[in-house]
């Protein structure tokens, strides 16, 4: 070996077997043989480097044996199987967006996350509209979104229509004080006829295209009608008297059937998409399933199932869009559970505790103040539960896909 102290140009008597030694310049006359590793900033993967640096410390302490190669292999495998991946968490309540002057045209449904089941639901409403005078009554169903993309809402004595495609508001009618207020409303599937229940026990059917009242159904109930649902030409009305009346809207003697079973106000009514079964929820905490084909010659029809799992009023009802006999029902304040049923057998499939106040109804536009939205992804049925909190005038509306 050459003496390091010699300069590179010195002629040495060593043979040319080691010519390289002469050409390497030795700057430092030091005994150490220092390697120089020149890092390249742009080629560095900081994330990975960070990860390796921080986890390597723990690894060394625990593992007594094991060659570095084994370590690296184990780490590589672990990374492959995501075992060492840290959890990435984000706060559910997102920070607010700086409000600008122009409204947002995109629907919030498009803001889907890349990961499959979890859909990102924005915590702030996409649109906020004033809803003064909305009856602060849990048992009434005062809003409905029609298939014509028009949103109907009953505010006190007046019924408003809000067209979602051009954001225009029109007043359909105003009723006088002794007949009002509006207690329920429901669009027919054609998106043209709207059934409206009033406090004077009547149910009116309006045609929104010609802006005319087509019919008034009287005599079906002895107290106000708080819930409605259509099944083609049949309008089912649920009353505070606990009676559900099936009305054929085409004939003058409109009452065709009565379902009696609830003891208290019927606050939720929902026909299955096949029109075979009707689900009704009442203030008596009962959920009834009625089968349409079970109509008997007697005036009284027996229910198919009586389900009493809920411990509070059952208002929210929704049928699964792809499973004709699966129904979801939501219980009120004392219950706060969403329960899933098989309506053929009447068996309870699942029950999820939402941990808070009750869902507001099947439609996802909710006219109550200050809500936090919760998203449940059970069986792939997207459901959004709005938790109402008392507030007076400014009501947020959230536009998501409909459950029905």
């Amino acid at each position: 070996m050459d003496d390091a102290r010699e300069t590179s140009s010195s002629v040495s008597l060593h043979n040319t077997k080691t010519p390289l030694h002469k050409t390497i310049p030795r700057r430092k006359p030091s005994m150490e043989n220092l390697d120089r590793f020149i890092p390249n900033r742009s080629a560095m993967d900081f994330d990975y480097a960070d990860y390796v640096l921080t986890t390597a410390r723990k690894g060394n302490k625990i593992k007594g044996e094991g060659s570095p190669r084994k370590e690296a292999y184990r780490k590589g495998l672990a990374e492959l199987f995501n075992m060492n991946r840290p959890r990435i968490l984000a706060c559910k309540n997102k920070p607010p967006v700086f409000k600008t002057l122009f409204p947002e045209p995109t629907s919030s449904v498009n803001q889907g996350a890349l990961v499959k089941p979890q859909r990102y639901i924005p915590q702030t409403s996409e649109r906020t509209l004033d809803a003064p005078d909305i009856g602060d009554n849990y048992y009434l169903n005062l809003l409905d979104w029609g298939s014509n993309n028009v949103f109907a809402i009953g505010l006190g004595n007046t019924l408003y229509l809000w067209d979602a495609s051009d954001s225009s508001t029109t007043e359909l009618f105003t009723i006088d004080d002794e007949n009002g207020p509006i207690t329920s409303l429901r669009w027919a599937s054609d998106g043209r006829n709207l059934a409206v229940g009033l406090n004077n026990l009547e149910v009116q059917i309006w045609d929104v295209v010609s802006n005319r009242r087509m019919r008034t159904l009287r005599g079906g109930h002895s107290s106000r009608v708080g819930s409605l649902d259509w099944n083609e030409h049949i309008l089912s009305t649920g009353g505070m008297d606990g009676v559900i009346t099936n009305n054929d809207a085409r004939i003058s003697n409109h009452i065709v059937e009565k379902y009696e079973g609830h003891q208290l106000e019927v606050c939720g009514l929902n026909w299955s998409s096949s029109g075979q079964q009707l689900a009704s929820g009442g203030n008596d905490n009962l959920l009834h399933i009625w089968d349409h084909s079970m109509a008997t010659s007697n005036s009284r029809t027996q229910w198919l199932h009586r389900l009493d799992d809920h411990t509070a009023a059952v208002k929210a009802l929704a049928w699964c869009p792809f499973h004709s006999s699966v129904l979801a029902s939501g219980g009120g304040v004392g219950d706060h559970h969403i329960t899933f049923w098989n309506t053929h057998t009447g068996a309870c499939l699942n029950s999820v505790d939402t941990g808070s106040q009750s869902p507001n109804g099947c439609t996802v536009a909710s006219a109550t103040g200050d809500e936090t939205l919760r998203f449940w992804n059970v069986f792939g049925i997207p459901e959004v539960v709005a938790n109402p909190a008392p507030k007076t005038n400014l009501e947020p509306f959230a536009s998501f896909s409909r459950i029905r």
Partner: protein
């Protein structure tokens, strides 16, 4: 600040966690101001770290950051927080434009560590704050309205409260990265880095 220097400067785990989460609060505010996520008028000047730091006056943003910091402190004390990431996204397209990465190395074996004074830590933090403020010189201008979000990278076995959900890392494709200074309380070492979307204008 002076009282600590007379006795031995023992920084507890709790104290260190408080320093780190407080740092994050001020850093986040500074970033939001600098990058124009919220309007300038909504910020107010306060004295901190020997500098004039800006804090938002918007109640919702304030409470968001406060709640966040409380949770981060908890995780820091348990030693399970690995990093905090503040992402800035376009409001319209939700594309991630900037990513501020604060990675945390925790030395769990804390007994009586650190002859490190508060002052020295403050000085280190001050250096980082100055760097954040001056980052405006090289970060591309954010022309459109933006929103921000905060992600926390934690160990797998951490307790997740109800208000937090799993998220994707919100990475930027082909980012430019700049490493800033770090500070160390001897219990937690915080490294700061910012990644941003490659400015297409520069590439032409």
């Amino acid at each position: 600040m002076g009282s600590k220097t007379t006795t031995k400067d023992i920084i507890t785990l709790r104290g260190s966690a408080a320093i780190v989460s407080e740092f994050f609060g001020y850093a986040a505010n500074s970033i939001l101001y600098n990058r124009g996520v919220y309007p300038e008028e909504s910020f107010v000047k306060v004295k901190k770290y020997g500098l004039s730091m800006l804090l938002t006056q918007d109640e919702t943003v304030k409470s968001f950051i406060t709640n966040l910091n409380a949770q981060l402190s908890e995780w820091l004390e348990s030693g399970k927080l690995q990093r905090i990431v503040l992402v800035i996204m376009s409001k319209a397209t939700s594309e991630v434009l900037e990513r501020w990465n604060f990675s945390i190395e925790t030395d769990k074996e804390v007994v009586e560590k650190g002859e490190k004074s508060d002052k020295e830590i403050m000085r280190e933090i001050q250096a980082i704050m100055k760097q954040i403020i001056s980052s405006i010189t090289y970060l591309p201008c954010l022309e459109e309205p933006c929103v921000f979000d905060v992600l926390a990278y934690t160990d797998n076995d951490v307790e997740v409260p109800f208000t937090w959900v799993e998220s994707d890392p919100k990475l930027i494709e082909n980012p430019q990265m700049v490493k800033l200074h770090s500070f160390d309380t001897k219990i937690h070492k915080v490294n700061t880095m910012v990644s941003y979307k490659n400015d297409e204008w520069n590439e032409e």
